[in-house]
Amino acid sequence: MDERGWVDGLRGGDAAAFDAVFGAFRRRLYGYLVRMTRRKDVAEDLLQETFLRLAQHARTLAPDTRLAAYLFTVAHRLVVSWARAQAVRKQLAGDLPDSAEVASSARSPLEAVADSQAQLALERAFAGLAPAYREVALLVGVEGLQPAEVAAILGQRPEAVRQRLARARTQLAAALGEHYSGGRS
């Protein structure tokens, strides 16, 4: 079944279509969410919320809905809301280190799955990017979305996305040092 078929199925409340979409996008969305939040528990919660919103709005989807764009837009908005709530919580708590900061100083869930020094360096390099740069690097570099699609997902101009991509690439190259092989052909 192609994407149009999945959307038609979702519009009709078909559980099999939902299962196909869930299977196709679960890993991609989780990877994006866990690398943006750096918290396994938060990524799981946001993944659940993303699919619940898809299920709740399935019957009102437009027939030509691009599911990747739709799902990553929902996930992006959830990450933004979560980040805002985190910022408010930190302000209210003053200078006290919170549990998330304590957790981030230990091995992250991503570092635990890296099975080589190069992968570990890569995970750390992505994690070291500012969230705005990390997000475009993940959506374009890992998810294979086009910069124009990413611009629509983030509600940004395509030129702004291109600029962020260039900066992300430069910062990754600097962070990776000897592990960096991008651009060498």
């Binding site: 939902f18 299962d19 679960r26 890993r27 659940q48 799955v113 890296a114 690097a137 570099g141 651009g183």
Partner: protein, 71 residues
């Protein structure tokens, strides 16, 4: 020379694959299937309807008061 997109894609491919726990995944799918079968919950509709009723009745009251003052 590779573009930024291509260079990031080659780095992205080298990242370790990550996946949500099977148990959590099943739980999410089960909950979402329930919502898919029932559509949006009724509580989601109640709030906007209540807001519309409130605003409409306030407008009606304001118009009635204005007519009363002018008339």
């Amino acid at each position: 020379m590779m573009s930024d997109d291509e260079q990031l894609a080659s780095l992205g491919k080298a990242l370790a694959p990550v996946d949500v726990d099977e148990h959590v995944s099943q739980q999410i799918a089960r909950r979402a299937r329930v919502d898919l079968a029932h559509g949006p919950s009724r509580t989601r509709l109640v709030l906007p309807i209540a807001a519309i009723v409130l605003v409409a009745s306030y407008l009606a009251w304001t118009i009635a008061k204005l007519i009363e003052l002018l008339g």
